[in-house]
């Protein structure tokens, strides 16, 4: 068992950083919030309704980015992105710009299997620039991303929060570009009692 008595309300405009040592249940918490795992006890509510009761509506409002980027090696960067966008009902006409945001210009037509792990993560993150889902749940979005990329992502998070979205993320880095008073922190620690 990892955590108990966790009662959080996350509202529009919040940036929430989940902290804790390895194995403290950060990923588990995010997966529960996304509806991928079921908590042993307790509920996740979206607009006062349990998410299992309104799965499709909740997922329309959700963008989740996990440890695995969900990029297929057999498809090009652009095809991967447009499939991801289309699956969530998003506009696929500006994939060029989105890939430019994550510094992947010139790689649009390369098969993803020829790209590096970091580039796979960038392909997946490119969705952030089109997403209209208000709730973003991002598990270690900065892993394998360079400094410039991190700065650009942080800027995107701020924009998103200002537009009334919310971002829930885990990271071991400090958020540099976002002033610390804007970031809510949830700290998890091992405990058994």
């Amino acid at each position: 068992m990892l955590f108990d008595d966790l009662n959080v309300e996350i509202n529009a405009g919040d940036i929430v950083q989940v902290e804790g040592p390895n194995g403290s249940g950060k990923t588990s918490l995010l997966r529960i919030l996304a509806g991928l795992s079921q908590p042993y006890e307790g509920n996740v509510l979206f607009k006062q309704t349990a998410i299992s009761q309104c799965r499709e509506e909740y997922h329309e409002n959700l963008l989740y980015f996990g440890h695995l980027p969900g990029v297929k090696g057999e498809m090009s960067a652009e095809e991967n992105l447009s499939f991801n966008l289309a699956l969530h009902g998003l506009d696929t006409s500006e994939t060029h710009d989105d890939l430019a945001h994550v510094n992947l210009l010139g790689f649009e037509d390369s098969l993803a299997s020829h790209l590096s792990a970091g580039q796979h993560r960038r392909i997946a993150l490119a969705r952030l620039y089109q997403s209209q889902a208000p709730i973003w749940i991002l598990d270690e979005p900065f892993t394998a991303i360079d400094k410039q990329g991190v700065a650009s992502l942080e800027q995107r998070f701020t924009e998103h929060a200002e537009q009334g979205g919310c971002v829930i993320l885990t990271t071991h880095q400090d958020l540099l570009a976002i002033s610390s008073d804007k970031v809510k922190k949830i700290t998890l620690d091992y405990a058994f009692e």
């Binding site: 955590f3 008595d5 966790l6 919030l33 991928l36 329309e60």
Partner: protein, 254 residues
């Protein structure tokens, strides 16, 4: 804010979004069921066509297994034609089983399965698209190659129609039932052997009715009864299996 962690895992969390977001959201176009279905279907077929081994290997397996039987039993035409329906169908079962792994495994490993489960579409729809793609990639080629193998096994000439029809109705059942098995074992590290233990017993009715239809055809009797039963199995699994697969995938990705 610090959370004190205690004995049980309990998360009581609510996510609220302001009206402003709800407005931007309503401008978003939503995919129709048909669009979502064809989107996934097209993606899976594209991937398979770029990764042709996945299509060709089960097919080669099918051919090799069938050619082993005359070598093991002897070239006597009468014996072979008697057991031909059984051999072809058992080989088809095994070839399908071999190809099932790719249905969800690679998607599970690279995280795209997770993303699909998080998409705002009913899961059974996406599952159905993936199973249809799987059948088009592995089931359909079997049907094309089967008559050739039937020649090698001296299958009675009257039985060819029955062979094709049973394969046409029966292989989708194999894909659908198999999908339930893969969905249950996709999260398990060495799920391959387990998969055959789970799935093969479920294939028995298809095997029995299909081979009997071919046998019946070889003596010139009508086999529409068996065909009707396979059709019933097909429609039954078509309606029920996608839901079972959806539930199983949720368990496996948990």
């Amino acid at each position: 804010m610090t959370i004190k962690s205690e004995l049980t895992e309990q998360a009581e969390t609510s996510l609220e979004s302001s009206e402003k977001i709800t407005m931007t959201h309503s401008q978003m176009k939503s995919l129709s069921y048909r669009d979502a279905f064809f989107l996934v279907l097209k993606r899976d077929i594209t991937i398979a066509l770029r990764h042709r081994d996945d299509i060709i290997n089960p097919l080669l397996f099918f051919i090799i297994v069938v050619t082993l039987f005359p070598l093991g039993i002897g070239p006597e035409a009468n014996t072979l034609s008697q057991i031909a329906p059984g051999i072809i169908w058992v080989a088809a079962l095994l070839a399908t089983l071999l190809s099932l792994d790719r249905l969800f495994k690679s998607d599970y490993n690279d995280g795209s399965l997770e993303q699909m489960l998080l998409s705002p579409h009913p899961i059974f729809l996406l599952v159905l698209a993936k199973v249809v793609a799987h059948w088009l990639i592995t089931g359909l080629p079997l049907i094309f190659i089967a008559p050739l193998l039937a020649v090698l096994l001296h299958l009675n000439e009257q039985s060819y129609g029955a062979l094709i029809l049973t394969l046409l109705l029966g292989t989708p059942v194999l894909s659908l039932l198999g999908a339930v098995g893969v969905a249950l074992t996709v999260g398990i590290k060495k799920g391959g052997v387990l998969l055959s233990l789970l799935v093969l017993p479920l294939y028995i009715p298809v095997l029995i009715f299909a081979t009997s239809a071919i046998d019946t055809a070889s003596i010139g009797l009508p086999y529409s009864g068996q065909l009707a039963i396979i059709a019933a199995l097909f429609f039954g699994s078509l309606t029920l299996a996608p839901f079972a697969v959806g539930a199983a995938l949720k368990v496996s990705t948990n």
